[in-house]
Amino acid sequence: MATATPEATVDKAALLEFLLRTGDNALVLGHRVSEWCGHSPVLEEDIALANTALDLIGQTQLWLGLAGEVGGRGRTADDLAYLRDGYEFRNLLLVERPNGDFGKTLMRQFLFDAWHYLLLKALKGSTDRRIAEIAEKAFKEVAYHLERSRDLIIRLGDGTAESHRRMQEALADLWPYTGEMFVGDASDAALAEAGVVPSPESLKAGWDEIVADALAEATLKRPADGYMHKGGRRGVHTEHLGYILSELQFLQRAYPGATW
């Protein structure tokens, strides 16, 4: 990354875009993971998964809180989470994929964690002090998420014939949603240039390595890189996001202006 650049010189719109993307990933994945609470295959996992969801909700508050500050329109993290419509959300399509079975949830978590881990690791060195501080905290949490999801997909891949089959299917289903993580646009390029964030493309090699290692240990076959779905990062989502938002935002929308 480039050496220290004053925060003021960075394009505010690009910075806001990045903060929304990062915050929305945490928000939407946290929402999905929290859907498991009370329904997991075993109590110990129910508790562990809730910890992951709690971390992600906490990260959402930090990223969207900063987005509110940067946006300069007096919006809070809650305003951003609860009062934007789908086209204003900037999360990856991967995190809005339905939970499916527990294996699919874990595979989605692993594919995301591996990327999230590398992103936060790079962000710890951001030239924007506020971003570096949030990344410092979130990185510790996500390092553990990755350790856990990696461990579980290895165990299930190399478990019974059925668990292997389910994990391979989950991988095939989710793979076309991984490409979006590594495709940057002009705003990414501007921020990367200023040393605020890593360029999405720069995370690809590290991610490939983490994923290849884990899949080999899991005896799972890496799918071919075919067509990759894109759109979430610029607000073009799958139909699933609308349903997530209709639950998430129900009270704020039904009772405008009420405090809770």
Partner: protein, 334 residues
């Protein structure tokens, strides 16, 4: 309560003189306030009663995740969402501690699940009521956790060591649960008329089921007397219910709410409230499986368990493979 109407197998309470020396020594230790630990001698009735009570309590915790879990994805702010998720997660933890305490009595968690899923084991009647609005989440914390705490605080002194220690841990972790519920309601009654109406509606629906949590009067129950002699129950159902009403009514007033009981009056002489009786016919119906959500709750638990079988088996198979590989590597190295 989280454990309601626990049977003891006793037909009458026996005096120390009627007991054989071993049982008498046991009862004297209990009377002296000593803890009974897993490997020590205990009457079979004591063991069985504890298994029933602790497992009912554990089942209540995990079934209890469902009505509140129902609102995690719809919580109105990020902070409320995190608090609610942490609370429901605590309930899973409390279920886990309690299953472990039951396991010290020679029964496995899988066996206890089997009893729950087959409908043989009971759990608290309260969790068969639906959570229809966000105010219900506040009402559950305030009333349901409030009622549970009434029972759980004395249970920390229970004679069975593992149960007592589980309760100490649970009470410590649960201290924020009731407050978070009340906090939700305080915010809402200061809000819009619609929010306030939502809170009153929640109180109307949850008041009587909360009073039912303590179970019907057990002053004449031999099971209750036996449980008290064994110190696995500390107070009568009516005592706890009275305490709950006395504590809760002023809290309702503070919120500006009306308790839905026309018979509720302050009794200066006894220094407590007089109040009406819950509909016990409804209570027995809910216990028998006819509550508004019994079928859904059990189905959700069964589904979680059955859908997760491949996951649990997959991890078992992997652990076995790894153990074999380690053993093979060790032999190869020698």
């Amino acid at each position: 309560m989280y454990a309601q109407m626990v049977k003891t197998d006793s037909t009458r309470l026996r005096s120390l003189d009627e007991m054989d020396p071993v049982e008498r020594a046991f009862q004297e230790r209990v009377d002296a306030g000593q803890k009974i630990e897993p490997k020590e001698w205990m009457p079979e009735g004591y063991r069985k009663t504890l298994v029933r009570q602790i497992s009912q309590h554990a089942h209540s915790e995990i079934v209890g995740q469902l009505p509140e879990g129902n609102w995690i994805t719809r919580a109105p702010t990020l902070e409320r969402k995190a608090i609610l998720l942490a609370k429901v997660q605590d309930e899973a933890g409390h279920g886990l501690y309690l299953y472990c305490a039951a396991e010290t009595l020679g029964v496995s968690r899988d066996e206890l699940y089997e009893q729950l899923h087959s409908g043989k084991a009971k759990y608290s009647s309260i969790f068969n009521y639906p959570t229809l609005t966000w105010a219900d989440i506040g009402a559950i914390g305030w009333l349901v956790d409030g009622a549970a705490i009434m029972n759980q605080v004395p249970l920390q002194r229970c004679s069975y060591g593992p149960y007592s220690r589980a309760m100490i841990r649970i009470c410590k972790e649960e201290s924020f649960h009731q407050r978070q519920g009340y906090d939700i309601l305080m915010k809402m009654v200061k809000g819009t008329p619609a929010q306030k109406a939502m809170v009153q509606d929640a109180l109307n629906r949850w008041w009587w089921p909360s009073l039912m949590m303590f179970g019907p009067s057990d002053d004449a129950s031999v099971h209750s007397a036996q449980s008290m002699a064994w110190k696995i129950k500390q107070n009568s159902n009516d005592e706890l219910r009275q305490k709950f009403v006395d504590q809760t009514v002023p809290q309702a007033k503070y919120l500006g709410l009306t308790v839905p009981d026309p018979d509720l009056t302050w009794n200066e002489e006894k220094g407590g409230y007089d109040f009406g009786q819950p509909d016990w016919e409804e209570f027995f119906n809910v216990i028998a499986g006819n509550g508004p959500c019994n079928a859904e709750r059990l189905e959700a638990r069964r589904k979680a368990w059955n859908d997760g079988a491949w996951f649990r088996d997959g991890l078992t198979a992997h652990a076995e493979k790894m153990a074999e590989r380690r053993a093979a590597a060790k032999i190869a190295a020698e």
